[in-house]
């Protein structure tokens, strides 16, 4: 039995359907191109020193010994990636720059140089799994580069979506429109990388039926809620949308659930107020109860599967309940022989379990206990407590009668 209440962990769970489409998407995908980052760094340093970043400068001070055409091509790559732009602002896309064409870093170029992260445009055939659930605002469960059907089309034709008419195409589901421009994780086998979707191209309906995932929403006292998504035995923790967090504050959720089942929560005792007659043996002994909740519901977040709030603190509702409970604990805790002094100490110890509830409890005397048990007989035999309390009194020295 604990002397202070400990609020329970709340675990809500529901199963949601996973939809899947396969699509060709254009995206900015994070790539590992160290040489380009280094060239950007060289460009920034050159410009910071008041010099010009030109193809000629690149082969003189960075790519030493290479022909100037190499410098031109490298700067053109950076230009095509939008990381640098001509100082003049003009650009002839057909021609390579001249040896003296001067460049400056674009905002993306400055970001890439500062973060060492480089996004490159890419067209990918992917399978996108997504859910429609208020707990998963970004919808996406996974993006896998494994659409064999569409990959084949990309290699045959990279001139635009309209020429892929030989395949049935579907409208982009409304729920996925929101993810354009957002950062997502793209999986290629087991490798994961960040990407930003620029646009959706050809879409086809999924080749396999939809599966499901588990959403597990966990609340602990004084902690932010945690959402875990488990799929194919892998669990990853998802970020709760900030806009949801305020309404998912632990105490609000706990009280909401307890009220939902009509139980009486005492804020003062931080426990469910119960009548002694309502509770079972383990609850009486532990001062906690496992509380089942059918179809738990959180505001704006729909319902979850039936759950059990484990070890929710319980407290006597009235003084009479507390007195009965106290007497019950005294009896149940007597498992061996006790002297009169031992019984008194023991009863006081049991009383401490009720201190926090603020009731004034009366301790039965040893005589009262013995008297009570002398009348409790089963098949003419006395209850063990009868002996536990009598024997030390009878079979000890002192107290002659």
């Amino acid at each position: 039995m604990s002397e202070s209440s400990k609020l329970p962990e709340i675990n809500l769970r529901r199963t949601v359907v996973v939809f899947q489409i396969e699509a060709i998407i254009e995206m900015q995908r994070q790539v590992d191109r160290e040489e380009l980052i280094t060239l950007l760094r060289f460009g920034k340093e050159t410009i910071d020193e008041g010099e010009k970043l030109t193809p000629k400068r690149v082969v003189e001070d960075w790519l030493i010994g290479f022909p100037v055409s190499s410098g031109k091509r490298l700067l053109r790559i950076l230009e095509d990636l939008g990381l640098i732009q001509r100082e003049t602002g003009s650009r002839n896309i057909e021609l390579l720059p001249s040896p003296d064409t001067s460049y400056i870093l674009t905002e993306e170029g400055q970001n890439a140089e500062a973060t060492d992260i480089l996004f490159m445009p890419e067209r990918l055939a992917v399978a996108i799994q997504y859910v429609v659930d208020p707990l998963v605002p970004d919808r996406i469960i996974s993006i896998q580069t494994h659409s064999e059907r569409l990959k084949d089309l990309i290699t045959r034709n990279d001139k635009g979506w309209n020429q892929l008419e030989e395949y049935d195409s579907i409208d982009l589901p409304e729920e996925l429109e929101e993810i354009v421009g957002k950062e997502v994780t793209v999986y290629e086998g087991n490798r994961a990388g960040l990407a930003i979707i620029d646009s959706f191209g050809q879409r086809v309906i999924p080749s396999k039926p939809d599966s499901t995932i588990q959403l597990n929403l966990q609340f602990l006292p004084q902690q932010s809620p945690r959402l875990a998504i488990s799929k194919n035995s892998r669990i990853h923790e998802a970020i709760i949308d900030k806009s949801l967090e305020t309404q998912l504050e632990y105490k609000k959720v706990l009280l909401g659930l307890i009220r939902q089942i009509g139980r009486n929560w005492s804020e003062e005792k931080e426990a469910i107020s119960v009548r002694f007659r309502e509770i079972d043996y383990p609850q009486k002994m532990s001062f906690v109860a496992d509380v089942p909740i059918a179809n738990p519901e959180l505001k704006d977040l729909a319902t979850f599967e039936n759950c059990i709030l484990k070890k929710v603190p319980i407290a006597p509702r009235t003084s009479a309940d507390a007195q009965k409970w106290y007497e019950f604990l005294i009896v149940e805790g007597i498992e061996s022989y006790m002297t009169e002094g031992g019984f008194s100490d023991y009863a006081e110890k049991q009383k401490k379990n009720f201190t926090r509830f603020g009731f004034d409890l009366e301790t039965p005397t040893l005589e009262e206990m013995i008297e009570g048990y002398s009348n409790i007989r089963d098949d003419n035999t006395y209850h063990p407590i009868y002996w536990f309390l009598n024997a030390p009194r009878d079979l000890s020295l002192g107290r002659e009668r």
């Binding site: 002297t339 003419n380 030390p392 009878d394 079979l395 000890s396 002659e400």
Partner: protein, 509 residues
């Protein structure tokens, strides 16, 4: 004289010079000579069929108001059980110490011990929970204390008998305890209950359990054992309760008293300092041992007998008493313990020093037993010298109630059953029957056997050349037959066979 077809032969075997070891010789008295009433007075009882001691115990149980402390090795008495259960129903707590299901036969080894143990077990099963029973194998003391904390009402009894049928027949002694003795025995009971018992019998939710182990006593319990001034045996280290050793008290009693020493016991260990002390005393004092006819004690009896102790036998004697003198006054010690390490060293036992009236009554009992003891032990005796009934070691148990008697002459007919082939013995050969154990009690044994004489086959042919021989000869195949017709012919036939016809058979026609 014509020969008979059958012949009766006899041989006398004389056992007179044989020595019998380890025997009880009849004193020509019997236990029926005990001329005692069960109630010697209101403080001393002997066991008896009227159950007078039982009645007095039941009377006090019925008057009990608070609680009863009861210790026994075996229990099996319906009337006392009923009184205890009635008291329990009235709210009188009944606490009991005894062994549980496993009875150590070193304490009691009567032939009906298994039956008594079963009776005891059944009792425990019946009363567990109505009576709080704690048990351990070594709990052997026998006493009952009624309301021991009540200065006005308390009463107590110590018994050498178990509270079963021993109360009605065995030579046993029971005494009423004095007030100070009740105090001390109460402390011994407290100690036994909290410190020595190993398991407990009460009804739990699972039913009447099979003696779960006892838990430690409450820490603040005052057991007060160090203030017990009775000689008792406890399993605690000697140093803690040095003044309580029953072993030392007994040894001291034997070696430090003077005058005649009389000891009554049920069990006596041979290789034990107490027994050796008794032997030593016999060099200078008259020492009498009253003891039961227990084969297991025989080695001790033999050694004590050789040392000069008079060993008197009373069947089922179970009382444990020592009587001696100190400064010209008789003193006595009544105990629950046998003279064995299991009793005096490690058993849960009690001894009460007897004085004044109780001593006088017990002396009277012991003296009566000495005078009436039906048997005297002898470590060895020549059969020829034995003139009384005797009991031989090893036959006591089966012979109880129909003792083996010494027989002057015994006729033993030898038949095919006990000596196969005897009928076919040749005329000239006499059998040598083995002497059986049972015949060892007889001074003389006459063996008697019948021989059927061989007859000449009908188709045997006379040998013509035999005319020079003293007896007629016949032949069948290669077998030669010497034919005799009169008793006088037999020596001639034997001689003829020995000298000339070695393979021949002597037959009649």
């Amino acid at each position: 004289m014509a020969l008979q077809k059958t012949i009766v032969k006899e041989r006398i075997h004389d056992n007179s010079s044989e020595t019998l070891q380890d025997v009880w010789i009849s004193s020509k008295r019997s236990t029926s000579d005990f001329n005692l009433t069960e109630s010697m007075d209101d403080s001393v009882w002997i066991a008896g069929k009227n159950g007078e001691f039982r009645d007095i115990v039941i009377k006090h149980i019925k008057e009990s108001e608070e609680f009863i402390c009861f210790s026994t090795f075996l229990f099996g008495d319906e009337l006392i059980e009923k009184a205890l259960l009635d008291a329990s129903d009235r709210g009188v707590r009944v606490y009991m110490l005894c062994p549980s299901e496993k009875i150590d036969k070193d304490f009691e080894d009567e032939e009906d011990i298994d039956e008594r143990a079963e009776e005891h077990k059944e009792f425990l099963d019946r009363v567990g929970g109505r009576i709080l029973i704690r048990s351990a194998e070594h709990l052997h003391s026998k006493f009952i204390l009624i309301d021991p904390k009540s200065q006005e009402k308390r009463v107590g009894f110590l018994s050498t008998a178990n509270f079963n049928r021993a109360l009605y027949g065995n030579p046993e002694i029971m005494i009423r305890l004095e007030s100070g003795e009740i105090d001390s025995l109460f402390i011994q009971f407290i100690h036994g209950f909290w410190e020595q018992a190993q398991s407990e019998h009460m009804k739990t939710e699972e039913g009447r359990g099979r003696f779960p182990a006892v838990s430690k006593p409450p820490e603040d319990l005052n057991t007060g054992m160090s203030s017990c001034d009775l000689p008792v045996t406890v399993k605690s280290p000697r140093s803690k309760y040095e003044n309580l050793s029953l072993h030392e008290k007994v040894l001291n009693f034997i070696t430090s008293t003077d005058g005649a020493l009389t000891i009554s016991t049920y069990g006596i260990e041979n290789d034990y300092d107490v027994t050796k002390g008794i032997s030593e005393m016999a060099k200078t004092r008259e020492v009498t041992l009253l003891a039961p006819l227990k084969p297991v004690n025989a080695e001790s009896y033999a050694n004590l007998c050789k040392a000069g102790v008079t060993v008197l036998g009373i069947d089922r004697l179970h009382a444990k008493v020592l009587i001696g003198e100190s400064d010209g006054e008789k003193i006595g010690l009544l105990m629950t313990a046998n003279l064995q390490p299991k009793g005096l060293d490690t058993g849960y036992e009690t001894g009460i020093l007897l004085k004044e009236n109780r001593l006088m009554k017990v002396l009277q009992i012991i003296e009566n037993w000495k005078q009436s003891a039906p048997w005297v032990y002898k470590d060895s005796i020549k059969i020829g010298k034995a003139t009384e009934d005797i009991l031989v070691r090893g036959e006591i148990t089966t012979a109880r109630g129909k003792t083996q008697r010494y027989i002057v002459e015994k006729i033993l007919d030898l038949s095919e059953e006990n000596l196969p082939g005897i009928k076919q013995l040749s005329i000239e050969i006499e059998p040598e029957p083995q002497q059986k154990n049972s015949s060892a009690l007889s001074r003389k044994v006459k063996y008697r056997w019948i021989i059927e004489r061989p007859i000449l086959p009908k188709d045997a042919q006379r040998i013509e050349e035999d005319k020079e021989e003293p007896l007629p000869l016949f032949k069948k195949g290669n077998q030669v037959f010497i034919v005799v017709t009169e008793e006088n012919d037999i020596p001639k036939a034997i001689e003829l066979k020995r000298t000339k016809y070695k393979g021949a058979r002597i037959v009649i026609q």
